[in-house]
Symmetry: none
Amino acid sequence: MTDKKEKIITVALELFANEGYSTTATSKIARKAGVSEGLIFRHFENKKGLLEAIIKDADLKLGQVFAPIIFESDPKEVIRHTIETPFNLDKSEYNFWKLQYKLKWQEEYNNPHKMKPLYDKLTWAFTELGYQQAEEEAQLLTYILDSITMVTLRGKIEVSDKFRIFLLEKYNL
Amino acid sequence: MTDKKEKIITVALELFANEGYSTTATSKIARKAGVSEGLIFRHFENKKGLLEAIIKDADLKLGQVFAPIIFESDPKEVIRHTIETPFNLDKSEYNFWKLQYKLKWQEEYNNPHKMKPLYDKLTWAFTELGYQQAEEEAQLLTYILDSITMVTLRGKIEVSDKFRIFLLEKYNL
Amino acid sequence: MTDKKEKIITVALELFANEGYSTTATSKIARKAGVSEGLIFRHFENKKGLLEAIIKDADLKLGQVFAPIIFESDPKEVIRHTIETPFNLDKSEYNFWKLQYKLKWQEEYNNPHKMKPLYDKLTWAFTELGYQQAEEEAQLLTYILDSITMVTLRGKIEVSDKFRIFLLEKYNL
Amino acid sequence: MTDKKEKIITVALELFANEGYSTTATSKIARKAGVSEGLIFRHFENKKGLLEAIIKDADLKLGQVFAPIIFESDPKEVIRHTIETPFNLDKSEYNFWKLQYKLKWQEEYNNPHKMKPLYDKLTWAFTELGYQQAEEEAQLLTYILDSITMVTLRGKIEVSDKFRIFLLEKYNL
DNA sequence: TATGAATGAGTATTCATTCAT
DNA sequence: GATGAATGAATACTCATTCAT
């Protein structure tokens, strides 16, 4: 992948995440990336094609982010690690996460099955730990963490460390 | 308010909620509402003005939706009622809710304080019921319910009644 | 039809006829017609829609041009009049005719049946005049006249009056 | 001439003939010819240069096609052969002919003198055969044959063999 | 000779908005 | 209050052409 192609992807991710996909003009992406507008279409054919390239990249990354949890063998650690994820979001990855959550509102790109592996692992962990309704517990936890993540990304309110500890205690961690 | 003005608002709400604010052309609103395009601007000055009129309406409605909870005096009932809200969304109000949640991603329109009264009431209820960390409990519950609401609105997955009962049991209801 | 709409059609006909449909930019049409480019699309939806509006107009006109021949009752007059048509093209109608002939090369718009009524009338006339193979004679005459028309429209060579008389004599007129 | 250069010419001829010069993108030519887009410009400098190379080739070929007629010494044979030409078009040469006729509408490339030798030969033949107005007869015949050729190339209507015989009889052949 | 990344001017089309009626 | 013609700036996308390799 050439430098310019990569620059386009980076800039587009930033703009799509913060200003929205349809609100972001390809001309703006080009300007910010320091390339000609035409180049975007040479590399991605479509504005949509550019979005999809970004999504593909992101799906890969999503796998990497959750890999340590998926391969964890201690159920307590699975849950602790999961809970701590939204509290440890790196600022450099905000754009990535914002796009993930924004796209959920775009019918076409809302794929709930993406998180299936994590959900399954959590179910397993809760089972191991003797929870009666492991599936519901797993579901519940993902709901909680999704909300926390979104609040954090929006940046108007910070989810306090106190809340993190509150959560960990809830799960006896 | 004239019939036509109201029709514009209804149609715009529907389109903004489902296809997004910036993606929805005023011409489409006009067509679907059966009015001339010019009329939109006579009544609302701006496309943005139209959105803001809708938001104003919506804020009013939001108050009404949560009033029964806010004025409930039995703490158990406060929590039960809150939990059941996302499970009782009327299809006719999906557009209203969708817009609420979508706009949270629009910096300009994301006002976390909107839900303050509900949050306060929940804090009060948890305190009454002797929970140690009432504020965190209130926060947690709103997180959970936000996620459920969003999943429901997106419509790809249904949150089961089993989960509702699971939740109520969690809170000893 | 508003003035501006008509102006668009006139200018577009001129440009499509002389510079070709796909070679003519809508911006050029707008500039020459003294209207905004957007107006073209308000009125015709498409560049193609504009072309089709022109063609529709033209088909109407084609009917008018040949009506006097179609309703002529003297077979000799039918043939004389037909022969003289390409020699009497009014300069103000060149664009109309040019477009007719150019579009024949565009698969989509080449409709040989357009001239059926004239062809039938000629067949009738030749039959009346006792020609053995009236259909072929009619065909032949339209071939000849098409070529003359095209040469005339291209304007590099003029078809002489001598040739007109030569033709009339061929048909004993 | 390299293989690739020749391939470019062949493909361009096909596309120019069928989809038009200005409608055909150089990228499409490159793709269909299996070469890089840059190569077209290395070999022909211009898109226009490519067209002109094709025209040059074509003019050569045109000479070859009519040579047997030009060098025929029997006047009857000259006319018979000329008449039969449009009925014997080889499908493999349609593109060549289509381009010839389409370009006549392009002022810049419409050169009526190209056919002068054939026209002169026909004039000679008609003179030999005692026709009174040999020049006009020659002109007339080229008109007829041009029309037949165009109809054939457009392919919607076939010119019947009956018509060929009709023509030959007209000229006592 | 040949490639393919890159450009910049241009193209059809959209869209929020204005305005005369 | 309501219409519909008209605008102008912006938008996604195309395309002939250049250039370093």
